[in-house]
């Protein structure tokens, strides 16, 4: 038993150490591309840390969303940044050289002061964290008692979609909001991706059905084992991103109301179920005991679809060109206010 704890200690220390080192390298690297790649590695190691902390649901979410999708977004943004800045002026290197040249003493003083301040901040936090009681019961007992009443056996899904379902509802609204914000920044433009290579086409044709299958499985298994709407949704989004990379575009007919409906469906189903419960005399989001599991599954299915499409749309960046509907004709006419 002794050796095992020593080994696990060794593992934890190395994992913690590499996490810190990776984070420092990500933030301090000269080349942005290297920084982003290191960030993706950092995300994957974080997933490992979640597993070590006995939080498999989070590990899945972190791997898919934290490392995968965020990395994809960052790389896409960097690509656009560099293509955008090619014409104007070499953007990224200039910041490095400029920083070297006028390292005025004011800057050094400011940085020194900052380091001192932050170290005091860390010391305080460390002291505070260490002063917390060693053993606590937290809410795990109360969750365990009410688990059977929640309709699912996986405690995290129970908390996420029943006990604190209201948080998840607002969180879906945040996701939708992010997409709205991005679409409001730019008028819809026809993004012409460069033709993708043969290998990517073959790979996508193989991977996408597999990813959809995995996503369906994750959705189903969420009820009694680590998994659930967000993890399934992000895997679906990965399939979407792959398709977008190969230049696939949603059919013109699908680009208008149908797309918007699919995006909103997750939140809409959630709200409809919640309000129905109120109309039936219960409280907001109070699932009747017998049907709780089914309702949760219904909400999770809709949420998975919406999350998948929303995350893919986040990657795509602008609103797809809708069919020449009256809206866009009018848009071209309306003067910029």
């Amino acid at each position: 038993m002794e050796a095992l704890t020593l080994l696990s200690w060794g593992f934890d220390v190395t994992l913690g150490g590499t996490l810190m080192w990776l984070a420092w390298r990500t933030l301090a690297s000269e080349d942005l591309f290297k920084g982003i790649v290191l960030f993706i590695a950092f995300g994957l190691l974080m997933a490992l840390a979640w597993v070590r902390l006995d939080a498999p649901d989070i590990a899945l979410a972190e791997a898919a969303i934290g490392a995968g999708l965020t990395g994809a977004l960052l790389l896409a943004a960097l690509a656009k940044l560099e293509s955008g800045s090619k014409e104007s002026q070499p953007l990224q290197e200039s910041t490095i050289t400029k920083a070297m040249v006028n390292k005025s003493d004011k800057q050094i003083l400011f940085r020194l002061l900052l380091v001192i301040l932050l170290s005091v901040f860390v010391a305080g936090l460390v002291y505070v964290v260490l002063s917390l009681p060693l053993q606590t019961i937290g809410l795990s007992e109360t969750v365990a008692e009410n688990l059977d009443a929640s309709g699912v056996s996986n405690p995290v899904t129970a908390v996420l979609l029943n006990f604190r379902a209201y948080d998840t509802l607002l969180e879906l609204a945040v996701l939708l909001l992010a997409l709205l914000g991005i679409w409001s920044l730019r008028s819809p433009s026809e993004r012409n991706e460069s033709a993708s290579g043969k290998v990517l086409d073959m790979l996508t044709r193989l991977l996408v059905p597999l990813l959809i299958l995995v996503s369906g499985y994750l959705l189903w298994v969420g009820g009694h084992a680590p998994g659930g709407a967000f993890q399934a949704g992000s895997v679906l989004a990965a399939a979407g991103v792959l398709l977008l990379l190969t230049g696939w575009r949603p059919g013109v007919r699908f680009a208008g109301l149908a797309l918007r409906f699919a995006l909103v469906m997750g939140l809409a189903v959630f709200v409809i179920v919640a309000v129905v419960m109120v109309l039936l005399g219960g409280r907001l989001l109070e699932f009747p005991l017998s049907f709780a599991g089914n309702f949760i599954l219904l909400i999770e299915a809709a949420a998975t679809l919406s999350i998948g499409i929303t995350l893919a749309a986040l990657f795509f960046g602008t609103r797809p060109k809708p069919a020449q509907s009256s809206a866009s004709r009018e848009e071209s006419g309306a003067q910029e206010r």
Binding site: Y127, V128, Y166, L180, G181, S184, V264, V271, R283, A334
Partner: protein
């Protein structure tokens, strides 16, 4: 009867959310849908108000699970007044936006605005710290997206800086939440209030949470992001930001300091008062130096926020009511001012104060709105600002802390200086300018009605003050 057993509490959150979804789904009829939602929300707020006045403070367990496990909604006098002012200002801004945005921008404005309204209502009703985190994020992101709607380089720069500030504040808040949860195994405000004691974790959490929320409320040293964001946003958005969004994080801070952190902390409270007075003086001086009208109004917001923090060291229930009254009348007056500034900018094509006279003389109603709102900002009778200032002055002198009274007076003198700097321009012999853009009468009337509401608030002070006592949010007060 039917009106009473509908949980209007829930409707306050569901209605704007459903409105947002409809506005997103049907962009062609977005203006109509938006206006209907706004009206329905105002009706449901009045219904909620009658319910609360009748039954007192309401606690509602979402999902039926109760506090430690599930999330509670709680509405008392304090949150009810915030909901009422949000509904009033929200309705006015909705009506104004119909005429302000063209069709293309409206498609983006309305869904974002409805989501922001959802975030505000959810925030004022929530009694759960993590739920407040999610609503704060929803609020921050929608506000940033709305600021970026203006499209110009400085609007986007301001939106970017606002986004970083908002995210940084939320992360500090989340770290503090982690410390609180792992000390007392709950994030519900009511239960936390019972279990709290002065452990190092609680001190750290209090400091972190206050820092995060001060960053989002733009109190004096941390106010750098507010003026560019509020000045470069489209007029209705800057009205929203100054009147409501900035106040939401102050509301959370107030709720926390009243219920969760009433530990003996005289030093910290005096420090907050000091920052407040710094904001009042610095905001006033900066506002006086501005050449652009909207920057002047934005710095005036920084100053007026300073007043709210002067109530912390006073800490009597009258001081809290004075601060809340100032908050409400500032929301009405400041939104009217920004809408008036929007009219002037739309008509004159610019908002440089020095060349404002030609434009001001052609829009008498807008200038009257600006003047009336200015009266409330200055805190001159008969306005809501005067009542708020009177209560704060009274509390300051009764508790013997006369120096806060001096700050209040200096602040209102500075306010008078920069308000009259603008109003003076209405009385010059400017010749008639050529026609820039036309401003619809509706937009002028909206600004005027809001300013009138701020003045009327000064005459019917007894009713809102009675409303504030429901659920006695202020009696616990910050222990001296």
């Amino acid at each position: 009867m039917l009106m009473q057993n509908i949980p209007w509490l829930v409707m306050m959150i569901v209605l704007p959310l459903v409105g947002a979804m409809f506005c997103f789904l049907f962009p062609q009829r977005v203006k109509l849908l938006g206006l209907i939602t706004a009206l329905v929300i105002v009706v449901s707020v009045t219904a909620l108000a009658s319910q609360v006045v009748e039954q007192g403070a309401l606690r509602y367990a979402v999902g039926g699970w109760g506090a430690p496990l599930g999330i509670n909604l709680y509405v008392d006098g304090l949150s009810l007044l915030m909901l009422l002012v949000t509904a009033l200002v929200g309705l006015a801004i909705s009506v104004y936006s119909i005429a302000y945005f063209n069709q293309e921008k409206s498609q983006h404005f309305w869904p974002l605005w409805m989501l922001l309204w959802t975030a505000l209502n959810a925030l004022f009703l929530s009694a759960d710290l993590f739920n407040l985190y999610v609503t704060l994020e929803l609020l921050g992101l929608s506000a940033v997206a709305l600021v970026a709607l203006a499209g110009g380089a400085n609007a986007l720069g301001a939106a970017m800086r606002y986004l970083f500030v908002s995210l940084l504040g939320s992360l500090f808040y989340l770290l503090a939440l982690a410390l609180l949860y792992h000390s007392f195994a709950t994030v519900d405000i009511a239960i936390l209030a019972q279990r709290i004691e002065a452990t190092p974790a609680v001190w750290a959490a209090m400091a972190l949470m206050t820092a995060g929320l001060l960053l989002k409320t733009a109190l004096f040293p941390l106010h750098f992001w507010l003026p560019p964001a509020h000045a470069n946003a489209p007029a209705p958005v800057s009205a929203l930001l100054s009147a409501l969004v900035v106040k939401a994080s102050f509301y959370i801070l107030l709720r926390l300091w009243l219920e969760v952190f009433p530990l003996p902390n005289a030093a910290l409270v005096q420090f907050l008062g000091l920052l407040g007075s710094g904001a009042v003086l610095w905001g006033g001086v900066q506002a006086l130096r501005q050449t652009r009208l909207k920057m002047l109004i934005a710095y005036s917001t920084v100053a007026q926020l300073g007043y709210l923090f002067i109530a912390f060291p006073l800490a009597t229930s009258m001081a809290w009511k004075g601060a809340l009254y100032l908050l409400i009348s500032h929301a009405l007056a400041k939104s009217s001012m920004f809408l008036a500034a929007g009219n002037l900018q739309l008509f004159g094509g610019h908002d440089r104060i020095t060349h404002l006279d030609r434009v001001a003389q052609r829009l008498p109603l807008t200038l009257a709105a600006f003047a009336l709102a200015g009266v409330s900002i200055m805190g001159l009778p008969p306005s809501g600002g005067f009542v708020g200032k009177w209560l704060l002055l009274d509390a300051a002198l009764r508790t013997g802390q006369w120096w806060w009274a001096v700050i209040l007076i200096l602040g209102s003198l500075l306010a008078a200086a920069y308000i009259f700097k603008v109003i003076g321009h209405a009385f010059t012999q400017a010749e008639v300018p050529h026609e820039e853009g036309e401003v619809s009468r509706m937009m002028e009337w909206v600004a005027f009605v809001l300013a009138l509401a701020a003045i009327v608030l000064g005459l019917i002070a007894s009713w809102p003050l009675a409303l504030m006592d429901i659920g006695t949010p202020f009696n616990s007060g910050v222990a001296q």
